[in-house]
Amino acid sequence: MPHLKTAYAKYQGDPTVAFLLISIDEDTARLQRYLTEMKFPFPVARAAAADTEQVMRFDNIPSTFYVDRDGIVRYQIGGNESHGDSPARVSWFIDQLKSR
């Protein structure tokens, strides 16, 4: 998760890019503690776990979706793929979509 914060720094002032975290936690107190600790600079929403898995059709947590301006998913990175640990990779995906 820290890598998302690092990657976000590059787009903080960019009105064409948005980050959204969606938590599937059920324990509100625990989630609150985590968010206080992490201090994410972008919005965090919540969704029901069962609902999410059915609608998004994934069974990997965490999972990242990169969505273009038209609302179409262009890249989907499942939990155990070694994608996301690098802010450079995150911004590579975003820059691909920004340049289209």
């Binding site: 998760m1 998302l4 009105p15 064409t16 890019v17 948005a18 980050f19 959204l20 975290l21 969606i22 938590s23 599937i24 936690d25 509100t28 625990r30 989630l31 609150q32 503690r33 985590y34 968010l35 965090v44 929403a45 919540r46 969704a47 029901a48 776990a49 609902d51 999410t52 609608v55 998004m56 059709r57 994934f58 947590i61 965490p62 999972s63 990242t64 979706f65 990169y66 969505v67 273009d68 301006r69 038209d70 609302g71 179409i72 998913v73 262009r74 890249y75 989907q76 995150v90 590579w92 995906f93 975003i94 691909q96 979509l97 920004k98 289209r100």
Partner: protein
């Protein structure tokens, strides 16, 4: 005389009654079929009309109606409702139904007209609107001929690439040109050529954007052009023994091609082997072989490389092991493709804020969006 006339009347009456009984269900089917089609309930409409077509009295009307439905399905239904597409397999059937309608009732003007329209559509279908120009074909052939002409001077090849690129603005000559240059060891020139190819590919798609009907198609084409360029550049860098830069480019091509490009997987395999990472090399070779396509000599090379590597189940025969590994990969790919949301709209989810109020997503519309699902545990 008197008896005779009575007899005739009786016969005529019997005929009338007989046809009346046969006609009613057929006509009912015809009316039903038409109503169902007005509601765009195609399958039920077709079933009813097929029944009506079997009766002589309603055959012409029913065949015409079926012909019109199939005409619509074959040529005209693209995007009439979201997700609908033309079904070319219906085109022959449309013509056959309309011909049957005219045969059943040669005086039926509406059927003749429909048949004329369908014939016109079928004729237009056979005309290639933009056959490849002879000039482009000749220039492509010339470029291709350098593949087996090892002694041809590089300047000549560059001129041939240029000439082909001027004739038609698609990126193909840059990519095949870059490959020719790699084959000749002209690695820096190959890299420059592939970079130009990437830019040309973007431009070609931009210029013809409306030709790509679905946004997924144009996005896929952008990615294909960029992926070809990144793979060629990465391969040239590999041959220059700059493994670090090669890895960056080859991995970029892998992301763009979603690991589905044969040559790219082979290149990644070779790179891993050169970097003494046999496990990674094995994965890439297996990925490559599990994809269709790829020139036979390269497939053979990959198989050979694999046969010399340690295996997870050393007691099984190599062929059996390879077949198991390849079919597992194919199955996994199929399953992943079915579940993947790539190139589909982001599904609607019911979101709340952290303290449980409805979450408003309107500020996210029209933006490039990263959505990350996580759990704090």
């Amino acid at each position: 005389m008197q008896t005779h006339r009575t007899f005739l009347t009786v016969v005529a009456g019997a005929l009338w009654a007989g046809s009346l009984f046969a006609q009613t269900p057929a006509r009912e089917q015809l009316v039903r079929g038409r109503t169902l089609w007005d509601q765009r309930l195609a399958k039920s409409a077709i079933a009813a009309l097929e029944a009506a077509a079997r009766d002589r009295t309603t055959a012409a009307e029913a065949h015409e109606m079926l012909g019109r439905i199939y005409m619509f399905k074959g040529w005209q239904q693209d995007n009439v409702f979201p997700g609908w597409h033309d079904e070319p397999s219906y085109r022959e059937r449309a013509l056959a139904e309309l011909r049957a309608a005219v045969a059943a009732d040669p005086a039926r003007v509406s059927a003749q007209e429909a048949l004329r329209v369908a014939d016109g559509l079928a004729a237009a279908e056979k005309v290639d609107p933009a056959p490849p120009r002879d000039e482009v074909k000749a220039l492509d052939a010339k470029l291709e001929s350098y593949r087996n002409a090892a002694s041809a001077p590089v300047t000549e090849i560059l001129a041939a690439i240029d000439a082909r690129a001027k004739a038609q603005a698609d990126p193909a000559p840059y990519f095949s040109g870059a490959q020719l240059l790699i084959d000749r060891g002209e690695l820096d020139r190959a890299i420059a050529m592939a970079e130009r190819g990437a830019a040309v590919s973007d431009r070609f798609i931009d210029e013809n954007l409306s030709a790509y009907q679905m946004s997924g198609k144009s996005q896929g084409s952008y990615a294909r052009g960029r992926s070809s360029a990144a793979d060629l550049i990465g391969w040239a860098l590999f041959l220059k023994k700059d493994y670090k830069a090669a890895a960056a480019k080859l991995e970029e091509a892998e992301r763009l091609s979603q690991s589905l490009d044969f040559a790219n997987q082979i290149h990644l395999g070779e790179l891993a082997r050169a970097q003494n990472a046999p496990e990674r090399a094995r994965e890439h070779y297996l990925n490559a072989l599990s994809l269709s396509g790829g020139p036979p000599p390269l497939r053979q090379r990959a198989t050979q490389a694999l046969s010399g590597m340690p295996r997870s189940t050393p007691d099984a025969s190599f062929d059996a092991w390879l077949e198991t590994e390849l079919s597992r990969r194919r199955d996994e790919r199929k399953a992943a493709a079915l579940k993947s949301l790539v190139d589909r709209p982001l599904p609607k989810l019911t979101l709340t804020t952290v303290d449980g109020r409805p979450y408003d997503t309107s500020s996210l519309r029209g933006k490039v969006l990263l959505v990350n699902f996580f759990a704090s545990w």
